[in-house]
Every structure is written in C-alpha cells, then in structure tokens.
C-alpha cells in the first residue's frame, strides 16, 4: 500500500490542478514550499518520489502527473493529465464544437508540416471550411488567442506550434489517430514536431532540437546516429535549466506557464 497523502502532497496536487502544467524548477520550488508549509520531511532531490506517492493515489482516478520535455526550450515540465482520454476531451468543456474542430484541424496542419508549425493564414483558411460551423476571421483570432492563453498552443511571429502541455496531455490521442504519420524523435522516442531531420534520403530520422543539442554536444563532426552521414544542420545550444534566482520569472522560459507557486508565499 502506498503511504497516505499528507497535506504537503495535497497542496502540491491542488497547485498542479490550478496550473495544469509547471516547469521542473517550479515543481522543485513547489515541493519545497509544500513540505515547509506543512512541516513535512523535505529531501531536496526526491521530487520524483514525492510525486510518485501522489500518483499512486491518482491511479484509481485515472489521473497522473506526467513528466515531459518541451520542444521549444528543451526543459522538463510536469503536467496533470487524464489517463482515460482517448480524445481531446480535456478541452471539451471549455470550447464549442466548431472551436474543437478548428483545434483538430490546426493539429493536423502542424503534424503534417515539416517545421512542426502552422501559419495563422493556413489556420484561417481551415476556419472557413469547418464542417460544424464556420468561424469568421475575428472569431478565429479570438479562439487562437484562447488556445494560447490556455496553454494548448504557442505562438511566435504568426506561427503556431503545439505547446508542451498539449503534447504531454494528448500524446496518447495523437499516436492513436496519426499512427505512422507522426514523427518520433530518434533520441528520446517521444513525439517530435519541431525537429531536425537526417538529410540522407534512405535514412530521414528525426531528432528534437534540444535532443540534437544534447546528443551532439561539443562534437566537431556531428554524424547521424542511425546512418552515420554528416549531420548538416546547425547544432543548437544545450538548454540551460533555470537557475535558482530566475525561477520566479516565468518569462525566462519560452513556454508560457502560469505564475510560479512562490507567489503564494509573498511574505516569507
């Protein structure tokens, strides 16, 4: 039997529920904060053990705190997901039918694309041909900003990508409906949308940008892990995990997550 949940675990879970997704450094800070608030025994590097206790109790509720990597910044995030969902039902209560249809179409565009993104122009075209009920331009723009605000999509320069929350929560759904059509990272084996591809026509493996950074770190002659052909793309920098001092600034990470839990202990 799993140890019972203490108040520190409950507070952590409540915060997860309010935020949906938090970064690994926010999770570490939250872990410390929850333990200290309730006088629970705190061991700095045992976050995963702490979360495992919560997950043991969430199992019968078909919920789970899952860890995933962001394609944007390569950092790890913790998301509270619903395990039974085989559809985008998580969003169903927040959006109208035609908005959900638009989301599915946007996801189609993103998965089909080489860049792992969809332009606002392409999405607007989809909005015009929805089967449920067409969305006008203004309505589409409003829905897209809602998607971004609710952390399902990221937006940069008019291009939309799937957020880490979306991928962590809907990975099962996406693998089911896209099957072989969805790219998978050769290094970490998770879904890869924004990635680099081996240029060898008989190879063509995909690797996340952060995975490329880690795999090819400091190699002057990067070679494809599968076919050994020269890897022609620019090797990005290794993602820096947020330092202690910067963990209060959600803007220091490219992913737009909610304000950090330290906001709750303003006075301490």
């Amino acid at each position: 039997m799993s140890p019972p949940m203490g108040d520190s675990h409950k507070r952590f879970l409540q915060t997860m529920m309010s935020n949906g997704i938090i970064s690994a450094s926010q999770a570490a800070a939250l872990h410390k904060h929850c333990c200290e608030t309730h006088g629970a025994h705190y061991v700095a590097d045992r976050l995963d053990d702490f979360i495992n206790i919560i997950n043991a109790h969430l199992q019968s509720l078909f919920m789970h705190i899952r860890k995933g990597m962001s394609e944007e910044d390569g950092l790890e995030y913790y998301a509270l997901v619903n395990v039974t969902e085989t559809d985008i039902t998580r969003m169903a209560s927040d959006y109208a039918d035609n908005e959900l249809e638009l989301f599915r179409k946007t996801m189609d565009l993103i998965v089909d694309s080489e860049s792992g993104s969809a332009s606002s122009t392409d999405i607007l075209n989809c909005a015009d041909s929805l089967q449920t009920k067409k969305l006008k331009k203004k309505e589409t723009e409003h829905v897209l900003s809602k998607f971004v605000q609710d952390k399902w999509l990221n937006e940069k320069d008019g291009e939309y990508t799937l957020s880490v929350r979306c991928i962590v929560e809907m990975e099962q759904y996406m693998r089911t409906i896209y099957q072989d059509l969805i790219k998978v990272c050769h290094v970490c084996h998770n879904i890869a949308l924004q990635c680099q591809m081996c240029e060898n026509p008989i190879c063509g493996i995909k690797v996340h940008l952060p995975c490329v950074a880690r795999y090819f770190r400091a190699r002057s002659d990067p070679r494809c892990p599968e076919c050994s052909e020269f890897w022609p793309h620019e090797i990005p920098e290794i993602p820096q995990s947020q330092s202690q001092s910067s963990q209060n600034l959600p803007s220091s990470s490219k992913e737009n997550t909610a304000p950090t839990p330290s906001r709750r202990s303003r006075r301490s």
Partner: protein, 261 residues
C-alpha cells in the same frame, strides 16, 4: 409524487428503473431519497467492484470540472449525467467520492443549498499566509472580486451597487466601458460572480428606479478568510487590522467558527 413512492418500493422496480427515460431534474432528485435497501443490495450485487471504482472516478472528474469553472454542482446533475443506472448505490458512491476529495485533494464537498441539494468544493487546506482568497493563481478576475468583497465587508456586509461601481471607477475599471482585461465588467460582476456564488446581487424592494445591493455569496462565506482579508486591507492602508474593531470582531468570530467545521 406519492405514486412514484409506491412504484419505487416495489420489488420489480429494477426493470422499471432500467426503462425509465429522461425524467426531469426534480423527479431525478426525488428518486434518490426513496431508494430501498433491497434496491441497494441488488445494485451492489449487480455491479463489480471495478465498475463501482470507475463510477467513483467519473463522479470525481465531473465535480472537478464543474468546480474548475466555479459552477455549483447539483445533485440531480450528478445523477443524470454520471451515476445513471448506479443510482441504487448512490450513497455509497458519494461517500467514497467525499472521502477521495478529502484524502487525495484536501477538498471538501459542502452543501450550500440543502433544499435543492447544491454543492461546492471548498479548500480544506489552510490558505497560505498572505493569500486571503483561495482561487486560481494568475486569474485577473481574482483581484477584481477581491476588491469588491473587501468593500462589502468593510462597509458592514451589504452595500448599494453604486458604491461598487464608484470604487471600481476609481481603479479605472469602468462598468460602462469594455475593459481590456475583464471585458464587460458589469456582466462579470453581476452575472458571473453571482452565478459562481461569490456575490449576491439583490433588488432593493420599493425602489424606483430599481436599485440593487451587493452582499457576499455563499461560496465567498465558505472560502474566503475574513481575517486574512482584513489583514490585507490593513496592509493597504498601513493600519493595524484591529483598529477596525467591528470588522475585526466579525472576522475573528468567522475564523473560529469555520475552524470548528
């Protein structure tokens, strides 16, 4: 109503239950209080533990989703949309649901309307020092609500609507204009906050033209610590919370009575 009572206590009602199509919500709800023990027994034998576990999980999810939007949950809705044919063991399921909320989430299912059986989820964990309202972090409407609750409380618990609008105008939130962050401010305050049971917006009788007054709603009463709110107001004005003797007395009383529950 009495016809149903007779029908329900008959032993052949199992098939009758199955053939029941959509009752309207009042009937659904009345049904719960008339379930016999033999029905319960039969229901328990009919469903496997795994199925019952699953139902408990579904009810928990249902309530969490409703609560996320701060919509009070009607017992009739739980029955109609989730429990359905498991009605016979409704009580058992709900007991487990309540236990789960307490043991896993630190939340409590509280009946705010005993007549119509309406519930809300409140936080059993103490609000953190410096956080008088237990709401979603980062929600801008929290601040708006909080200001209104403070004004109402400091002014003795009920105020004319004009005072709210004037206070907001001073903070450059004009109910007559569309606000960047809140949109239709009047709608948020008089409709959304009222629906969520944070505020009450009531007509003052015998007023011409009609005037309304604001009070704290049932959810605010349960969720918001008046003491913490007073401390915050104290910080705002650089005053000791105890300097407002009446409010302090009321806040302290509210604090001790809520600790007893």
């Amino acid at each position: 109503m009495s016809q149903k009572k007779k029908a329900v206590s008959a032993s052949q009602n199992k098939t009758q239950r199955r053939s029941q199509v959509c009752l309207d919500e009042d009937d659904e709800d009345a049904h719960f209080s008339q379930i016999t023990s033999s029905q319960v027994q039969r229901a328990r034998e009919h469903f496997t533990p795994v199925q019952i576990d699953r139902k408990v999980a579904e009810v928990v999810q249902f309530i969490l989703i409703k609560d996320q939007k701060k919509i009070p949950i009607r017992r009739a809705d739980i029955g109609k949309h989730v429990i359905k044919e498991y009605k016979g063991i409704y009580t058992e399921i709900m007991n487990r649901v309540c236990r789960t909320f307490e043991q896993v989430f630190g939340l409590q299912l509280v009946e705010i309307d005993p007549k119509n059986h309406i519930y809300i989820l409140i936080n059993k964990l103490e609000p953190i020092h410096g956080e008088p309202v237990s709401m979603r972090p980062g929600n801008p409407k929290t601040g708006l609500l909080f200001v209104i609750l403070s004004v109402i409380f400091m002014k003795g618990g009920v105020i004319k609507e004009n005072l709210v609008w004037n206070t907001l105008k001073k903070l450059r939130v004009d109910p007559g204009e569309k606000h960047d962050e809140f949109g239709d401010v009047k709608k948020v305050v008089t409709d959304e906050f009222v629906r969520q049971k944070y505020l009450e917006y009531v007509k003052i009788p015998h007023t011409e033209p009609v005037e309304y007054e604001f009070r704290w709603g049932l959810r605010a009463e349960k969720e918001v610590s008046k003491l913490k709110l007073l401390e915050f107001v104290g910080e705002l004005f650089g005053q000791d919370p105890q300097s407002w003797t009446q409010q302090f007395r009321e806040a302290s009383t509210a604090e001790t009575s809520s600790q007893r529950t």
